[in-house]
Symmetry: C5
């Protein structure tokens, strides 16, 4: 029951930034926010130009040199208020959007603005302790441009970058809407990996249930259940978001991209389906465990009862013949033949044993008759 050894899924709120009543659209940077790293990928059908940096200048530079390209600006780390503000200023982004990017507890959503769209997803990751880490991914999609924001410096989109370098397929030609899909799809694919891991853990807990059940099963099952709750909280609005993207009229999400989004939508449904199934298995495991505990209790009670109930009358009889009622009266002379004459019988002791064995036998027969030896 060591609190330290049990990894716990925190479902509770991260400290919210800002104060009650603050003006909307105010940007708050968490104290422990990482410093941003900027990767810029400018690409068209023919070439791919990349650069790196940490401030707005590198972006503006790239815009100038690559004016016939699509740009994917990947920003890892949100710890620079000035960067966010200057991006907002240059691209004319609504302050409410900037606030959403930096306050990292948004639900997945898709919002359309005049000449850009804004999408939020939750990135899930199982860390070393089997704990779910839940960070925010947000993206602004403009005509030739997608800016993605992540909270940390983790490399998640290697596969996407590889396809970009590979240079074939829709990723180079289908514009920032497709890039937004590709990133979202990668995030959703990651959910399957996590669910496979949760599924393996569930199998493990179930094996443990059948092979050597102990009370850690309850903790483990509750732990997995909580992971599933976190997953569900992320995947339900994700599905709605993908659906909103499919239904949008914005020209930034082309019909071609919508075909792929429908595929992502199917994946979301599959994920929700799996989560529900896993929750049902978890409940079933907990039910079986509780039934086992109850059966174990029952079995222990049965042994206690059988042994006690058999020996209690026997011990009573032994107690009887251990009494000291005297054959000789208080005066030392009178003989009191009524006092425990059995003690002086020829085969008294043997009879006593016979009586005791008889009682034990009758009891065993009754219990056997009642099925106490083999039922439930």
């Amino acid at each position: 029951m060591d609190s330290k050894r049990k990894p716990r899924i925190k479902l509770t709120l991260k400290k919210r930034l800002g104060n009650v009543g603050d003006s909307p659209g105010m940007i708050h940077i968490a104290e422990d926010a990482m410093k941003p790293q900027i990767n810029i990928f400018s690409y068209n059908e023919k070439e791919l130009v990349t650069s790196k940096g940490t401030n707005i200048d590198v972006i503006l530079e790239q815009f100038k040199t690559c004016d016939k390209h699509y740009h994917w600006i990947q920003i890892n780390g949100l710890g620079d208020k000035k960067l966010i503000e200057s991006i907002g200023e240059h691209l004319k982004i609504n302050p409410l959007v900037l606030e959403d990017i930096t306050s990292s507890h948004q639900r997945p959503k898709f919002e359309e603005y005049d000449d850009y769209v804004f999408a939020v997803s939750r990135i899930m990751r199982l860390n070393g302790d089997n704990e779910l880490e839940n960070t925010q991914f947000s993206a602004i999609v403009k005509k030739h441009l997608i800016i993605s924001f992540e909270e940390d410096h983790e490399e998640r989109f290697e596969a996407v970058k590889a396809r970009l370098k590979g240079g074939k397929g829709a990723i180079r030609t289908a514009g920032p809407g497709y890039m937004c899909y590709a990133l979202t799809d990668t995030i959703i694919d990651q959910y399957f990996v996590i669910l496979a891991c949760i599924g393996d853990n569930l199998d493990g807990v179930e094996d443990q249930l059948y092979l050597k059940a102990d009370k850690s099963i309850m903790y483990n099952a509750q732990h997995l259940k909580r992971s599933l709750i976190v997953m569900r909280r992320a995947s339900w609005p994700e599905r709605d978001k993908v659906n909103d993207m499919i239904r949008t009229d914005s020209p930034l999400i082309t019909a071609e991209v919508k075909t792929f989004l429908r595929d992502a939508y199917d994946h979301c449904i599959q994920i929700m389906d799996l989560i529900e199934s896993y929750k049902e298995i978890t409940s079933s495991i907990i039910d079986l465990y509780l039934s086992m505990v109850s059966n174990r209790m029952n079995e222990i009670m049965k042994v206690l009862t059988i042994i006690s109930v058999i020996f209690i009358p026997l011990t009573f009889i032994a107690g009887i013949y251990g009494m000291n009622f005297s054959r000789i009266g208080a005066d030392g002379k009178t003989v009191i033949p009524d006092n425990m004459p059995e003690l002086y019988w020829n085969h008294g002791y043997v009879y006593a044993w016979a009586l005791m064995l008889l009682i034990a036998g009758v009891q065993l027969y009754i219990f056997w008759k009642k099925g106490w030896f083999n039922r439930l």
Copy 2:
């Protein structure tokens, strides 16, 4: 189990005012209602004029002197029937609205009338005893005017007033609709603070569960659950209300304000999401606690059973050899060799001990075999 020491969330109905069958639109003032304090803020892009008072005259005065301003009339305390009625009369407010303002058990709602709109919210506050206080906020929005009503003299909107004094941003220019949003948003922000507090308490209860579980866990968990029920009852209709405000055709809620309301709507969804998660954690804590209680019971039963079952046969044997079957018959002469010959064996006592140790050993082996020493 001291009833006094457990703070209890009252979910029950405040005494309703008025009688069954009363005419609709009749204003009832609760006996313990606080006397109203009126704060008037008249503002436009250039200046902010404030005044204070306790009756209708100060309002009318201000209307006259500041005829090119927006007015926010903040009324704290509902204990003056005449004030409410004269406001209703001057501004031509439907008596049903006045009744809703004074009967402080309304659900959050948004109603449109000919030339004004009416909005109700629930103000939540955790008092010193960790009890939720649930009071009513209502607001009437007219063309250049918003009147807000609170039940007590608590200062809740300091941040809004600071922004008003600061004099920048939409708050000065975007009219009473924006002010209504700003006040509502402040109330909703407060929900996050309360939920963070409930979240901390939940973490505390969970730590207690793992470190030193006792039966107060059940009370605390039920207490938190009830707080969450109260919060949910307030936040669900709040969301609907904000949605109604977004969808209204009333010119009093401008498109600009609706953009901000969409942000408030997101906040409502986040709050409901958190509440649901917290309810699930609470259930999970209660399940774990009950499982612990059951395991504890099981463990106690096991110890009882093992000790009893081991000693019961031993005590029986000791009882046997404590019997007084006599080697000499009742006549004092006959020798009865059948009566407890073991007592006269050379190593009878040692054999008895050996038998008892053997029985104990066999039993321990069986229990160990059955896994009673280490399982479930």
Copy 3:
């Protein structure tokens, strides 16, 4: 466990009148139906004429004398088939409506017919034994006429009649649609009174839970839960009915009345809200009670176990030294030094006590270490 002392909420069906396959629209009068009492209120802005009677003639009479009035005909008691039929005939009411009026298990509903509308509500009343009585209220609204039907002679609408006599406000001028609203609203207001009473009872049960819990809590909680089920069964369709009245195109329900109905609709929502909250409290009370029972069991088991487990080995030792292994062999001469030499040690008895105290001490220490004295 005396069945007589527990008031029970009957949720079960009243004996249905008529037979399977009867022609629809057939009027069945229950045998225990009360004889009708008719009160007629003919009113317009200027005057109020009232009369009483027990048959159709008094109504027709009044129609003649007051031909420029609105009429409210209040019929208390449904035990006169002829009266119902002749009303149906004179006013051309669909027989299915007449059947619904007399079969008193209708759900609240609102139905429109060619030139009249028909509304049903459930009247709730807590009788002396805290049992819910659930009777039927139905009303037919025609152009200048409302006929209301109640099952008994109870006076429920005193307040409405007082307002009618008072002669001010919409009640005199807004027609029979308003009167229908006023009666319905009075019925709904009554629900608040009952819920306040149920709330008080819940508070009482909760106090009892903390102060002196016994098994009557379970019965009381179940009793309250059942009352809430009855209330919910009445209030859900009542809300739908009020909503239907708000959405109807019938000219009998004017726009003015609809404003008031929206207020009644809010009340219905508040009632349902309260009912749901109360159900959740009831569940929470039951959970706490069951947890208490389980804790109590646990505590009892602990005391039993500690006492038993401490004394069982001690009693065994006492049993050992109560054995009669003889120092003198069966021949009366041989000395058997192996047989219970402890009995002849110098301080044997003191050692025995010391051993027993040691065992008891070790056991107490182990139990204290395991936290049996203060946890869960």
Copy 4:
């Protein structure tokens, strides 16, 4: 626990007829299907002609002789494939409809075809063992014709036939659509009878719960719950079906009939309402029963604990003074004054009793203090 004595509601599937992959529209006759009996009622406003038979000829005959009548052909028993097929051929019925008529596990439904409509209901019946029998009723309605199919020879529509013979009212004039309504309504009315019976049983189980609860309560409650599940499975789609009939554009269901169908729709709602209430009562009974079992257990534990805990120390003391520590050493001479001097005290025995009574008294006082004698 005799399996034979417990009537069980079979929820499981009747053996389906036909094989996987069979062509749709193939008619399968169950082996145990009853031979059909045909009753024909040809009626118009003036006269009623009836005839009986077992094959298609009697129908065709009647069509010829009564060409200005409506016909109700009642077919009891589905065991004649040729009859069904020839009806299908003569009336041009879709083979899928014929298949539905003979496969008797259809859910209630209403289907429109070019010149006929098809309706299915479930007929419920409580047999002698309080078991629900669930058979199928289907009807084809054409212009002047309704053909009804039942699975057995039971007489269910006596009342309808009586009204038909009576010759008054809509039944003679409103056509086959009305007849379809009349038959459906009779079936639905039967549900009320069954529910009243289930309600009585529930009352009985509840009385038993309060008066002499035993474990049959659990079986009975589960049995009733299962009956309610069967009823719900039949009544939900029945409601949808009636609703479909109300909304249909088919001229076979006239506006007049729809008025009556609305009445039947209300009945369906009432039935579902009752079923839900009964399910809630059943759950409440089961909860109360389980709480009783738990209380009983608790009470038994308390008695066991009090008696055990009081006597265990007393028996220990008796055991102590039953020990045989010898006052005389092994050499037969040494006096060992330390060995059990109490035995030789003047009032040792009285003191021992006093000690035992004191211990018992202290324990009783503690238990009384803890409230074990009167609480929970």
Copy 5:
């Protein structure tokens, strides 16, 4: 509790193919995928031409020779990437569809593309160990062509092929849309067979519950519950899919086929209905079983308590009179008349027995009075 002996329904995810972030539309073949077998059925009203093969050539060949036929190409086994790709290329199938065909964890769905439609179903099979096997069926329907894909070489559609050979009915004339229906319907029919089997197992578990309940009931019930979860997960989206097929505008699904699909839709509803009922029975069985376990526990406790509580005071009395308080003082002379005078009474032993029988009798009377011998 042997893990090996319990067949377990795997609800967990099959290893997903491909990597996170892979380009959409990439075909991944599972390593253990079976090599494809191709059966081609080219048919029209007059003739049926069949051929077999393992690669694309046999299909193209057949297209050439039978250019006035409909084609059903049945592909069993998905282990040939090249085959899938060349089919995709020849028929111009979207790569996302090809990906769905080969990744065998799709939910049932129906998708429309420009000139073809795509349908997925889940094929269910109970294997020898009563475990559900869940494989994928997908079909592409083009103008004169349907291609069906199954994961293994199992023969499932014998009946359809027989009807095709038989040469009568819609199957030959109604085109590939009808063939798609026929295959889907066969798959759905199979669900009924599985449900009948699950129903039989449920009956078996219930019989076992009444006749000789043991703890395998819990495992079996949970096993069946899990099978039902798998069935539900397949049948809900199957219903939606069939509904989508009914509502589609695609000319590939003709009005004639839609009539049959409505029948299949009814079957889906019946299946879901059955699944829900079976789940309710399973829950009811588990509840009864748990109640039995609890009753059994109760009964055991009662026996233990009655025997213990009767003998504990008796054994105490025997212990009392087994004490050795000496009538002779320590000096060997003093007579101590207070020490256990009962032992020297004339009928002391008989009185002791009488006392013990009295105590036992009183206790038995009290227990009988409390109803411990016959209640709960």
